[in-house]
Symmetry: C2
Subunit: 207 residues, 2 copies
Amino acid sequence: VSLELWHACAGPLISLPKRGSVVVYFPQGHFEHVSDYSAASSAPFDLPPHVFCRVADVKLHAEAASDEVYAQVSLVPETEQTEKKLLEGKIEGHGEEDVEVAAKSSTPHMFCKTLTASDTSTHGGFSVPRRAAEDCFPPLDYSQQRPSQELVAKDLHGLEWRFRHIYRGQPRRHLLTTGWSAFVNKKKLVSGDAVLFLRYELTPLKY
Amino acid sequence: VSLELWHACAGPLISLPKRGSVVVYFPQGHFEHVSDYSAASSAPFDLPPHVFCRVADVKLHAEAASDEVYAQVSLVPETEQTEKKLLEGKIEGHGEEDVEVAAKSSTPHMFCKTLTASDTSTHGGFSVPRRAAEDCFPPLDYSQQRPSQELVAKDLHGLEWRFRHIYRGQPRRHLLTTGWSAFVNKKKLVSGDAVLFLRYELTPLKY
DNA sequence: TTGTCGGCCGATCGCCGACAA
DNA sequence: TTGTCGGCGATCGGCCGACAA
């Protein structure tokens, strides 16, 4: 799973703890989340309100069926001694730095579009917003009458998708034609869904 | 879920305990089955080799995606005292009678066919074996040149499917045409799968 | 700038008997 | 008796500009 694509899908509000850092884990909240019980419901056992944990691993995933992104954070509880020292500030807990800070230098071009009825119908292809095509797609040879090229994109699972990108019509516009409908069908996209394209690892996906 | 259809799918070797009867439950076998561990693997706790249980409930189900049938049997452990009496024959345990004995009087007509390449291809419809059509389908008006009718069937989930049943060709034969391909697609049927039709609650399904 | 539409053409679906296994 | 095929018409998919929001 591409790091950039994963974060593009998760959105700017999502930050993940660094591996090796120390975090505070709230079992009560976790239990309520996974068990789908109301907050009024009681936990099956006596849960401590919070536990100091070391982040053993962070893995990025995407649902196979829906492309929904999520992260798997492996936690190892700290000993009570270590916990005490942490509270007194005697050990460095690595704080709140995000794991992706190193990747920030290569901010990739991207765009996101909510699909219209025309985009998802069987009647035609995908209308590419002008700015988006110019920012994110390789430039076309505009000297030709109907400039076109083949785009290759990878989704969250690394699967390849090929689209014909053409610039045509009066007035001129960018379109994805051949290959687009297959993508819509396989990803079960409907009007109102959004697609997100990322430059270089030029990548569309259902959002 | 139709009782008859469920048993037609499960096959004649499957019999279910009656509600209220007493059965012997083998936790070890259950554990190996659900955990997918090899027989060599050890259980997580000390399991008793067998437990006398009262059948609290029996529910028939079918997988939403595959139409695979299964039963959910709710068990309540018997007290040691009752267990002892049962072993000594002092209490009636209701034995091995099947829950469906009462339904045997109305043995419904049915047929099962393994799908051929032609049955599942997009080129045409479904060839109905002659005997099957005569046994299980409502009779046609053979005075007409191309007798036909609409069949309405329900699958394991109670969903309705409509098929055009026609008797035509040289030599004459029974076919399901309009509606058949939709069924093949939705149930993801391929050559080698089987369909099962049951009269009255005239019911096809993927097997 | 771009969402929807009519036009158009080719691909596929799906109904029909003809065969032959 | 029934599985596969060639045939064909109807439908649908999908590429094109026209047009207007």
